[in-house]
């Protein structure tokens, strides 16, 4: 019963902590966060070990079997997502603790900015909901957890308190609610047709008929809106760029992955046999467009956080290449590569946003022009940014390289040269915007005199996360083995034309 305790704990511990900090309004709120992070790390480790030893686990929560109870399910990919959440979550927690405590003493702070007290309950609820989503075994629970994630994410963006941030938060809220409606409609259709919401049961009974296609399309479109796949990315740059420093990384790194994970689950575990190949390729084409469009927009930005946010638009594009590639013989490689890329991007992007947040706190602006020579003051941060950039560009040694290598193998092995070209071109464009930042920061222009000292933790947290990405390019056998546990039978399945 090892796994059951770990799974329950991963959901309940942050939730309980959120309630405690909110109700007691304790002054040692950051300590609670750090304690949760430590417990989560232990639980994730425990669960990973158990899954590696004994394969996928399904547990009915509290012993109630379906259809009454809420079943939890953990396989390789959900554990990888949990590891990702724990890594990014724990470092963000430490980062946030330092950030908000520094902000309280910041003379530049306007009175409208809310205090540290508001951040923690929201973040802990978000954390709990993320874990619950990755462990959900039915499509309705997925919906509930996704809503929780959306609501807390919107509130977290609003924490920045500036008009820009509020507008972005509202826009995000509307887009996300729209997405939820589509998804819920699809779930309702499925339930009325098949009488179940468990995705295991759906996978066994799903038929290739019009109603199923409608349901699948509605659900996927709703989720695409939340995952910000081009051209539905309109809400993302403003929302991610204007959020407070610790929040941006969480949004780009984790929140987007939640809805993407749902698409992966639904597509490959439920709808894959009944989806037409053309639908998969359509997603891949949109993904390719996202890579190019997002990268070019990133290059054109003057604000670093916007640059990094557009980079997310591009990187999300990479995640969608798998839907076309998986229809062909080497699809399994693409699937593994995509799952690993989701992990790599989360760590790299969160690190990049943390660096941007720290430097923005230091100089009071994220305009690239103001960052001239900043690397001479803060070499550690620029080093972390460069390491994260290595993964975003897909250069070795990094987790991003391994993921891209797998994707490229699938693309070229299947003779999909256009996809291979986009993958490589996207990496080069990423190099353009990453090195634009790094080049400016290393220039010998004299840095501006008025800067705030950066708390030590705001240097180390991004560096640790960036190191994880590099280590993820060296220690790869374990994560890839993990992904084989409960992997969808892509290769074995005959695909409908």
């Amino acid at each position: 019963m090892d796994a059951e305790w770990a799974m329950t704990g991963l959901i309940m511990v942050p939730l309980a902590a959120a309630i405690v900090v909110y109700v007691t309004a304790t002054r040692f709120v950051a300590a609670w966060g750090v304690a949760v992070a430590m417990i989560q790390t232990g639980l994730t480790f425990w669960l990973t070990r158990s899954i590696l030893q004994s394969g996928p686990v399904q547990v009915p929560l509290g012993g109630w079997e379906a259809p009454l109870g809420i079943p939890l399910y953990a396989d390789g990919i959900s554990v990888l997502m949990l590891i990702m959440t724990t890594l990014v979550g724990a470092t963000s927690t430490c980062y946030a603790a330092a950030y908000f405590s520094a902000l309280q003493h910041d003379p530049r702070r306007s009175s409208s900015q809310p205090t540290i007290q508001t951040f923690w309950p929201l973040w802990l609820i978000l954390w709990s909901a993320l874990n619950a989503l990755f462990l959900s075994a039915d499509v309705f629970n997925l919906y509930v957890t996704l809503e929780l994630i959306t609501i807390s994410a919107v509130a977290l963006i609003g924490l920045a308190g500036k008009a820009q941030a509020l507008v972005a938060a509202i826009r995000y809220l509307f887009a996300a609610l729209m997405g939820s409606l589509f998804y819920l409609l699809g779930v309702a259709l499925l339930y009325s047709t098949y009488g179940t919401v468990s995705w295991h049961l759906l996978a066994e009974t799903v038929q290739a008929d019009v109603l199923t296609w409608c349901a699948a399309s509605l659900m996927i479109i709703g989720l695409l809106l939340k995952t910000a796949l081009f051209p539905l990315h309109f809400w993302l740059p403003a929302a991610h760029a204007n959020a407070p420093a610790p929040v941006s990384g969480l949004l780009s790194g984790l929140v987007l992955k939640a809805s993407f994970f749902m698409i992966l689950r639904l597509w490959f575990y439920v709808f894959h046999p009944v989806m037409p190949v053309s639908a998969g390729w359509m997603l891949s084409v949109l993904g390719s467009a996202a890579i190019l469009w997002g990268s070019i927009q990133a290059i054109r930005q003057q604000r670093v956080k916007l640059m990094i946010a557009y980079s997310t638009v591009a990187q999300v594009g990479y995640l969608f290449l798998v839907f076309g590639l998986a229809c062909e013989p080497m699809g399994m490689l693409a699937w593994r590569g995509t799952a690993y890329l989701a992990f790599a991007h989360a760590c790299a992007k969160a690190a990049a946003f943390m660096v941007a947040g720290s430097l923005m706190y230091m100089v009071g602006s994220d305009l690239l022009d103001r960052w001239e020579g900043i690397g001479r003051r803060e070499p550690k941060l620029i080093f972390a940014l460069a390491l994260a950039g290595v993964s975003l560009m897909g250069l070795p040694p990094s987790a991003g390289f391994i993921a891209k290598w797998l994707l490229l193998n699938a693309a070229i092995g299947n003779g999909r040269w256009e996809v291979a070209a986009v993958i490589v071109l996207g990496g080069l464009l990423a190099a353009v915007y990453m090195f634009r930042i790094i080049g400016v920061s290393l220039s010998s222009a004299v840095p501006m005199p008025e800067t705030m000292p950066i708390p030590r933790m705001m240097r180390w947290a991004p560096l640790v996360l960036a190191m994880v990405v590099i280590v993820g390019g060296i220690v790869t056998t374990e994560p890839i083995r993990l992904l084989e546990i409960g992997a969808p039978p892509i290769a074995a399945r005959e695909v409908a034309p």
């Binding site: 080093f383 560009m393 070795p396 193998n409 090195f435 080049g439 220039s443 222009a445 790869t476 056998t477």
Partner: protein, 498 residues
């Protein structure tokens, strides 16, 4: 793990570990940093010496680590890798000493020496790479670790040069990545083996293999500065002198040339290359590069730019020897890998000394510099004569083997190229040497900064002196065991094994 597995790892780690520690140290911990640097460099030379001894006794040094299926990280010491890794180890030691003297009291030395060590780590890694993938990994790592060195000064000029360098190198890397994945999907993982692995391939794939060959050469040609992919190299001259020395003699340019040697001999195989008909185009590109680089060098009045174009030209001797593909020409090409490194690093050390001590950066400012800095200019002279190919320098040995190799392969036009290039080399080097020794020095040097009681500080003086002596020794004692020439013959024996 046995010692045979540990040794290649240790050779790579001997610069990786000092480099990593240097990043953690403070900027002002100069003594500790210097000690670490030198210790790492000395240890690397010793380890390589052990390895050299072992390989000459037919020991196998190999280590392998699976990343993903079809993606193995493999280090393997064969005769060819040892040639390159010995060059890198010895010249790194000298360049480290030089850099310590050169950068005295300048800012950001921690960053410099950290990346300097990582750069050498990448170079030794790709020298020891046992398969194409490992090579690719270190090749990209080399791009990333040299960028901070190129832009070290942080001036707008150097930032522009850095951008150009990245544009070329990363695009080359991307083409390389595509080619490697493509090759792997056709024939499986590509291990380096002495006579190539592709000769058994299905003839239906010959077309694809030709395209892949072109892509691989283009990818490596960017770093090897094959015309028309050489545009970044002259711009990268804004980097500090030790960086230029390393870039031109050991790390970047050589990595590209070494990659091409690997592709031709250890992936495709010399014979199979001939069968595919790809050697002649490669030889033509190399010949064009040799002539073009020399021509452009004539017109440069900036000393370092002249040397840069000279590199463009000289490195292509390696490709030329590789592409002619007879045993003797191959010997000439491979041995030039070492000889060019030793000669070119001498020239850059000397140019750096002139710039640091006298402020001399232009060619016409060199008048009379031989009287003010006799040792430096003597070293410069020896290396320049070597570049022209005058006996008994190392450069003569390379050219001799290239020439008789061309004759053996019935490629008489190559001898014409060699003669033309030697003449051009003479035209752009001899006037400098003449002016340095026989013209009278100016009343005042542009920016004179005396350093110590010698003509310049010892750390700047001894490295070029040593490499100049090496240039002579490598020529005079070319026939001795363990000389680069004998070692190159050993490699050729393996490559052309029946």
């Amino acid at each position: 793990m046995t010692f045979q597995q540990w040794l290649p790892l240790l050779v790579v780690a001997s610069s990786l570990i000092p480099g990593s520690i240097i990043f953690v140290l403070g900027e002002q911990q100069i003594k500790l940093r210097t000690a670490l640097n030198l210790a790492g460099a000395v240890v690397k030379v010793l380890l390589v010496a052990i390895m050299l001894w072992g390989v000459s006794l037919d020991q196998e040094y190999q280590v392998r680590y699976g990343l993903v299926e079809g993606l193995d990280f493999a280090l393997h010491a064969d005769a060819l890798s040892l040639l390159f890794v010995s060059l890198a180890a010895v010249l790194w030691l000298l360049t480290t000493i030089y850099a310590i003297g050169y950068l005295e009291d300048s800012p950001h030395r921690r960053r410099f020496f950290g990346f300097f060590s990582l750069c050498v780590t990448a170079t030794t890694g790709l020298a020891l790479a046992g398969n194409l993938l490992t090579f690719l990994i270190f090749y990209e790592m080399l791009t990333l670790t040299t960028y901070p060195l190129v832009i070290h000064r942080g001036t707008p000029d150097s930032l522009r040069a850095g951008r150009l360098y990245l544009l070329f190198a990363l695009t080359g890397g991307a083409i390389l990545l595509l080619a490697v994945v493509w090759l792997q999907t056709l024939v499986g993982p590509v291990e380096f083996s002495a006579t190539g692995i592709l000769s058994e391939t299905d003839p239906a794939l010959y077309g694809s293999l030709r395209v892949i060959f072109a892509m691989l050469i283009a990818g490596f040609g960017v770093k090897a500065a094959l015309v028309p992919l050489h545009g970044w190299l002259p711009q990268a001259m804004v980097a500090p002198a030790p960086v230029s020395a390393l870039l031109h003699a050991v790390a970047v340019v050589k990595a590209g040339a070494f990659g091409i040697v690997r592709i031709v001999y250890d992936v495709y195989g010399a014979e199979f290359c001939g069968q595919l008909g790809v050697t002649i185009p490669l030889a033509l590109v190399a010949a064009l590069t040799i002539l073009y680089g020399s021509m452009r060098a004539l017109y440069q009045d900036d000393l370092k730019r002249r040397l840069a174009f000279s590199t463009v030209s000289q490195v292509s001797y390696i490709m030329l020897g590789t592409a002619i593909a007879g045993p003797l020409a191959t010997t000439g090409g491979i041995v030039h890998l070492v000889h060019q490194g030793v000669m070119k690093i001498t020239l850059f050390f000397a140019a750096g000394n002139l710039a640091e001590t006298l402020g001399v950066k232009k060619v016409d400012q060199m008048r009379g510099s031989g009287r003010r800095m006799p040792v430096t200019m003597a070293a410069f002279t020896v290396a320049a004569l070597g570049m022209i190919g005058i006996p008994p320098t190392a450069g003569f040995v390379s050219k001799w083997y290239l020439g008789i190799g061309a004759a053996q392969a019935d490629q008489w036009w190559v001898i014409g190229v060699l003669v033309a290039s030697s003449v051009l080399n003479a035209i752009y080097f001899l006037p400098l040497i003449y002016a340095a020794w026989f013209a009278s020095p100016p009343d005042a040097w542009p920016d004179e900064r005396p350093r110590g009681r010698f003509e310049t500080s010892p750390a700047l003086l001894f490295p070029p002196l040593i490499t100049a002596v090496l240039t002579l020794l490598l020529g005079v004692f070319a026939g001795f065991p363990f000389s680069p020439l004998e070692w190159a013959k050993l490699i050729v024996l393996q490559e052309y094994a029946p």
